[in-house]
Structures are given as C-alpha cells and as structure tokens.
Symmetry: C5
Subunit: 99 residues, 5 copies
Amino acid sequence: MILAEVIGTVVAPVHHPSYADQKLLLLRPLRPDGAPRGRALVAIDRAQAGVGDRVLAVDEGSSVRDLLGEANAPVKTAVVGVVDFVEVDRRIVYDATAR
Amino acid sequence: MILAEVIGTVVAPVHHPSYADQKLLLLRPLRPDGAPRGRALVAIDRAQAGVGDRVLAVDEGSSVRDLLGEANAPVKTAVVGVVDFVEVDRRIVYDATAR
Amino acid sequence: MILAEVIGTVVAPVHHPSYADQKLLLLRPLRPDGAPRGRALVAIDRAQAGVGDRVLAVDEGSSVRDLLGEANAPVKTAVVGVVDFVEVDRRIVYDATAR
Amino acid sequence: MILAEVIGTVVAPVHHPSYADQKLLLLRPLRPDGAPRGRALVAIDRAQAGVGDRVLAVDEGSSVRDLLGEANAPVKTAVVGVVDFVEVDRRIVYDATAR
Amino acid sequence: MILAEVIGTVVAPVHHPSYADQKLLLLRPLRPDGAPRGRALVAIDRAQAGVGDRVLAVDEGSSVRDLLGEANAPVKTAVVGVVDFVEVDRRIVYDATAR
C-alpha cells in the first residue's frame, strides 16, 4: 500500500458501471519523509477522503476488487483509509487532528 | 489509474485479434503538478480520445480485460476516460473546454 | 521481494476484516547500497518487525494472499521477514545484532 | 504497453520449456520524447524484431501468457510489435523505413 | 524480465514452506548501459547463481509460481538464468567467461 495526499479531484466520465457515481481523487504519492514523489494517481474513494487528507491507497486491481467485493471491475487504484497519525522514530510527524 | 496526456499515435502491427482495428495512443504520464514523468506508455483507446487530450488510463491487464469484457487479451494499457476538469485546492487547473 | 527499513507506523482505519487488529508499518525502500529510494510503502506485519528493523517485504497482492492463506484480502504489501544479516562481496554490511 | 528500443541480445539459459529456442532481446525503454528511461528489460520476441528496431512491448505475465496462448509460462515481458511510425503532434518523429 | 547483478546475500527467516532452505540473493537492477538503477531486489535462486554473476530475473509472483510449479507461494522475485553474454550493437559488452 502507499501513502499519498489527496490534492484534488478529476472529472472524467468512464463508461463502466463500477465508475458510476464515483468521485475520482487526484493523489500525490509521498516519500517516507513526506515529500512528493513520482507520477500522479487517480483513485476511487472507499474512505470518505477529502482534499488535503493524507491517505492509505492500494494500487492493484486484484486488491481493489477484493475491497469492492466485485470479481470484475476495471479499477486499479482506491483510497482505503484516511490517515489519523504517522509516527516516525516515536515522534508524531503527521496528525490529522492538528491540520 | 493514472493521469496522462495523449501526445501522438503509434503504428505497430500486433498479431492478435484484440489489437485488430485498434488505434494505439502514445501517452505521456503526468506528475500531480502536470509536468511529464517517466517512460512512455502505449494504450488502446476506449474513450475516443485524441491528441492533446488529458486522459485517465489504466495500466494493468486484469483491469483492462474487465473493461473489454474479454477474459483473454494481451493488452495491459487502455485509455478509459477523457478528462473534463482537474481541480486542485478548489481551483480548476485543467479545463478541456478551454483548450 | 524488496529490502526496506521500518521507519515508523501509520494509523489509518480500513473497513475490511483483513485489516482488523493489524499494525501498519511505514517502510522506506532501500537501494542496494542501503540508501533510501522512492516512495513510501505501508505494509502489514507478518514478522513481528519493529521500528529500526531492516526487513524483507513483498509488494504484490497475490503473493501476500498466499502468505495470509486468504483467497481474498485487499492487502498488497506485507513484511515477511526481519533481516539478520546482509552480506555484500563477502563482507557483512548489515548485522541486526550489532544495532 | 511500453515503447522501447531493441539494443541487443542476452544469452542466458533458462530451464523451462517456454524459453526453449527463444532469443532474448535487451530493451531500452523510452520516454515520450525518445530519450532512454529506467532499467533494462529482457523480453522474448513475438514480432521478429531485430537490433535497432523500435518496438511495442508488454511487461506483464498475464498479458504475455494470453499472447502465447499458454496458461502457464514464467515469462513476464514480450515484444509484441515492431513500430512502423510514431506521430507526435501530426509530425512523424520516427519512421522505420527511413532508418 | 530484468537484467541484474548479484551483489550479495540476505539472511532473513520467512515462515513459509516455499522459503525453506532458500538462499536469498541481493540484486542490483541494471540500466541498459550496465549502470545500477533503482531499489534493491531480493530473489530466490532458481539458477545456481553466485555473487558477481549477471542474471536474468523475473519480478512477478504469477510468473515465478509458474516457474516453481506451485500454485501458491508468497514469492515475487526469482533469478531464472545466469547470463553468459550480452551483445549490444554486434559487440559483446558482457562475457561471463572473461570475468
């Protein structure tokens, strides 16, 4: 799984039922030190995430389909949890309640 | 899923029925800030995309096969939607109607 | 499989039984020379790993599900072993007992 | 799928029938602008490609197995087509007949 | 498949039968020009490879399981062949017998 920040949303109609009424989140993957890293990901939202949230995402279709409980869905990336805390070396480096 | 820009087309005959009559799009993956990132992708088109379009692409065979409704197809990458808008921090940073 | 360092923990509720009571470890992937490399990974722990440990991780859902013995689980990344030694060119370059 | 250049061949015996009599091609993946990018790939050849050819490659086992028509084969990467033309912004940027 | 150099070994107990009595090799993936590239991989050895060997590796669980002939094994990466020669532009750039 990866750590990412939700930085916005993408509007792009996809003609498949599994995308119906899905908000598409624009994710910025993060390095361990919190800096941005690499190309953007676009994810469906399974965790009521919002812009500015730091999130846990899964970027693999078979894993996402297990989460959706659907055997067939052309969805590779999903936000599966909103991060409350990140602790590094016994120090809180990210605290969602302090944003 | 990833965010990419369609920058051109590739002509390369592939001897498999799933490639018959398929236009192959050349994609430039994007970072969250819209800058190019990493190696090129070549995708089949499931969204009537054209050169210059910003698109949503899936880069995983099992996801693409779910989209095609085919259990077997040697296709890993597909454009699944043309992006209308990208919004970052409540600001429209990409608007297809303004191109 | 990849070599990584456990640098902390992530608290992020995921609504799926396979995440119940799972500690989520924050991993820093390593280059062959031990330097950090690329984006962070978040993993479930199958090896009683702790912060500061160098670990062996698997970043693929089908492999992780084989490890868990579950056919369905939206889990892509797991720590599968704690590293005792790394030897490069007949020289010990990492020794867990010497930390 | 990815765009790559065949830069050579690799001789490495693999003890599995799916590798018997297979030439292994050394590929240099390309960025959208044609510059090299990232680590080398080694591929089996399904398109009679030669050194110097620009090719379309698939880097995923399930896709390659669909191409081979074999349910089981420890082959992840295959060249599936030789590129005739690449067109970017209505301009031919690569033409195999002009090499 | 990828081209890599075996630079050492990793000792890390994994509690799963498919890892029993397996030596774990530390791999340095290579760019097409032979320079190191990216994060380290740890692989099981299916080719009697040793430190200093240039090898062909597969980094995908389904491919590796086909190689092992096991339907279930939490193993993503395997060395499948030891490289004898690499030829680039009709010139031998790597020759195992000359090491």
